[in-house]
Symmetry: C2
Subunit: 414 residues, 2 copies
Amino acid sequence: MPDTILDAHTSDPVAMGWMQGFPPPDAKRLAWERADHMRFPTHRYAFSHMREFLPTVRVSRGYGPVWELPEALRDDIDGVRFNALDDGRELSWEEALAVNFTDAVLVVHKGTVVYERYLGVTRRDTPHIAFSVTKSFVGTLAEMLIAEGRLDPHALIGDLIPELARSGFADATLRQVMDMTTALDFSEEYTDPNSGIGAMSNALGLTPRAPGYAGAGDVYSYLPTIPKAGEHGERFTYRTCNTEVLGWLVARTEGRRLDAVLSTRIWAPLGMEQDADFLIDSTGMPFAGGGLNPVLRDMARFGEAVRCDGHGNGGQAIAHQAVASIKAGGSKEAFAPAGYQWIPGGSYNSQWWAMGGNHGAFSARGIHGQAIWIDPVAEVTIARFGSHPIAANGAFDPTSLPAYRAVADHLMKG
Amino acid sequence: MPDTILDAHTSDPVAMGWMQGFPPPDAKRLAWERADHMRFPTHRYAFSHMREFLPTVRVSRGYGPVWELPEALRDDIDGVRFNALDDGRELSWEEALAVNFTDAVLVVHKGTVVYERYLGVTRRDTPHIAFSVTKSFVGTLAEMLIAEGRLDPHALIGDLIPELARSGFADATLRQVMDMTTALDFSEEYTDPNSGIGAMSNALGLTPRAPGYAGAGDVYSYLPTIPKAGEHGERFTYRTCNTEVLGWLVARTEGRRLDAVLSTRIWAPLGMEQDADFLIDSTGMPFAGGGLNPVLRDMARFGEAVRCDGHGNGGQAIAHQAVASIKAGGSKEAFAPAGYQWIPGGSYNSQWWAMGGNHGAFSARGIHGQAIWIDPVAEVTIARFGSHPIAANGAFDPTSLPAYRAVADHLMKG
C-alpha cells in the first residue's frame, strides 16, 4: 500500500506503533539516516520528537511564572461547518481535523482558551516543529529591533552583514528581506533536491547528504553564494533564505545567538510554559527559517500577544510599534503575482501573511499544516500543528483557512 | 603546545573562544565529526552543550512549583585547606577548583545552599553532562521498584529480560547487576577502542564510528553479545554495561522509557528547577550509564533527597526503604580487590559508591569530575561538575575527595 493513500486515522503514529517498545523493534524504529523524521507517514511521530533526531538548542523560558491562559472549553466548536475552498464540500471543524492531518489545535477567544485538542502522539507538553511559523517569530524580533532604533529597515544587507556584500542580498534592504521581495536565484521547491531550498537543507544538514556531497557545510557559507535574479522590491517571492539572513542579522545585532535572543525577548517576557527546542546547523546557529519547536500553548501565547498589540503576560512584552508594523500588512500588488489562489487580497510583510478578508486576519504559516491564525475583529487566535503528507500549503489551505474563518464567525455570535 | 599542558585557566572555554561569534569562525567551531565534544580541551565547552552535538530526549520537570533551596552563602568555604591524597601538598578549596578542572560546584549544609560557583561556560541554568552520576539515578529508580515489590533483587536477568537469556548476564541476579558484581568479558578502559566500553560507545554512537564499522548499531543489540567471564557475585568490577541492563529493566518494568520514568519518579516529585537532557542511542532509549544532563542545583536536590532518606520537596519523594538499601552500602570484601587506592574501606551498591571513613559518606561519581557527595553525619551534600582532561577518577580524586571531607568537617564546626 503506497504511503500516499494512508489517511489520518490509518497513519496515526500511535496506531502505526512508531517507537513503541523498550527498545522498539526494528520495524518500528525511525532513523535520521533514512530521513524518517522528514517523510510521511513516519514524520507524524517525528514532528513532535525532533530533538531525538537532530542536534538542538534550548530556548529557555527562564524562571518566571507561567502566563496562565484562562480556560472555558466549549463543546460547540467541533460542529462548526464550512465549505472547503477547492471542491466546495461541506465539512465540520472536527471532520476537517482528520482531512488535513491536524496534530494539535487550540482556539483562544478574547483571551480565553475555548478549544484544545491533542491527537496522535502530541500532548500539551510536547514540543512540535513549527516549520515556517518560526519565521514570524524572527520577523517579530527584527521589528522589535527596528522599533528600538537598533536596525534601520532601509539599510542595505551588504552593509549590515559584510559576508553578504558580494551576494545577491547585497543591495537588498532589510525591509525587502523581511517582506521577501528580494529577487534571488533561489527556488523554494521542496520536492526538488536541486532547488535553492534543497541546497539550503543540505547546508543545514536536516537530512542525510548524498555520498560525495561537496556543497556548503553550514548555512552561513551557503547564503553568500546565492545570486541575484531580477530587481529587489518588485514582487513577493517566498524564499526561506531571506529568513536565514534575518536571523543572522538579529543575532549579530544583539550579540547573542538567536535562541538566546528569543529566550530573553519573547519566551521569558511572555511567561511561556515550556522551553522550546531549536534545530541548529553545524555552526550551532539556529535554523531561523523553520527550526523552532514550541508547545502549542506557547505558540498561542505568542499569537495572543501579537493580536493584543504586543500586550501579554500582564505587560507590554513586545513593542507596540513592532506589532503595528506587522499589522499594517504588505503590498498587495507585490503579493498578487505570486498566485496564492486561496489568499485573495493577501500580502506578506515582516515574515507574516496578511490573509485578506474583512477581518484583517493575519497568519504565521508552516508546511505540513503549522499555523498561528489571528483574527483581530473576532478577537480570536488559533494555534495549530499538523503533519500533512504533502509539504505545500495548498494541500491543507482549502480545508483549514475556511475552518478558521468559520470558527471566528461562530465565536463572534457569542 | 600539546593539549595536555593546558591548565584550567588556559583551557577555560571562554578564553579559548569556543563557539563564539555569529557564526563562530571555523577555528572556534566544535564538531561531532571530530569528537570535539568528548576530548580536551574542547569538551570544556561541550560538556554543558551536549544536546547541540547529539540527539537527546527531555526529562520533564512537569508543571509543579520548584523545590526552593534556601540560601545562606558563606565566604569561608574558599579558604578551607586540605592535603592532596597523592603528593600531600596543601591546597585551599578555591585553589583546588582549578587544579581539578571544576566547572561548577554547590555545597548544601543542613538543607541550605552555603556555596555555589559557576566557572567557564556554565551557569545555574545550563545542563551539564553528569556521566556516571547518571548510574546513581538509575540505581535509585531500581531500588524504588524493589521497595514497591515490582522487582525482585534475587531474580535472574535472563528471566527478567529474555533477550539476555543467552548472554553473560543470564544467570546474574538483579542485585549483582545493581552492585556490579557481575563477571563479564567487558573492560572499562576508556582509552582503549577495543575495550568493552569502546564497543558500547560505538553501539551508542556517542562519537563517530570508524569507516567500515560493522559492530552493533545500538546498545540493545550489543548487550546480548557480552560473554560471561568468571563467577557472578564474587567481586566488584565497575562496568557500565550493568547500568544499561538496569535502565532497560526499569523501562520494561514501568512500560515507559527511562526518561519518562525519571521524569515522573524523580524530576517532578522533587520539584526540579529545569528539565534535563538525556542522550539516546539509535533506538531512542536513553544512555542509562552516563547520558543524563541536569543542572547543578537539580543534581544537588537529588542528593539532598537521598541524604534525607528520600524526603524532599516537602514529602517522601523517594521510598524510605529504597534509600535505606542504598545507605546500607555494599560488600567491602567484594570491593577491596578492585584496588581503588583513594577509597579505602569503600564499597559499591545500587549504583552508588560508599566512600569509607567515619562519616558514612557515599557518592555518585562520573568521569571528568562529576559528583554528588553525601555526608550524612555532617549533613552536607556537594554537587559538582568537572571537565578534567583525563577520563579517570584517579586524576581528580586526590584533590577532590579530601576537599569534600575538609569542607564537611569545617561546616560541622558551625
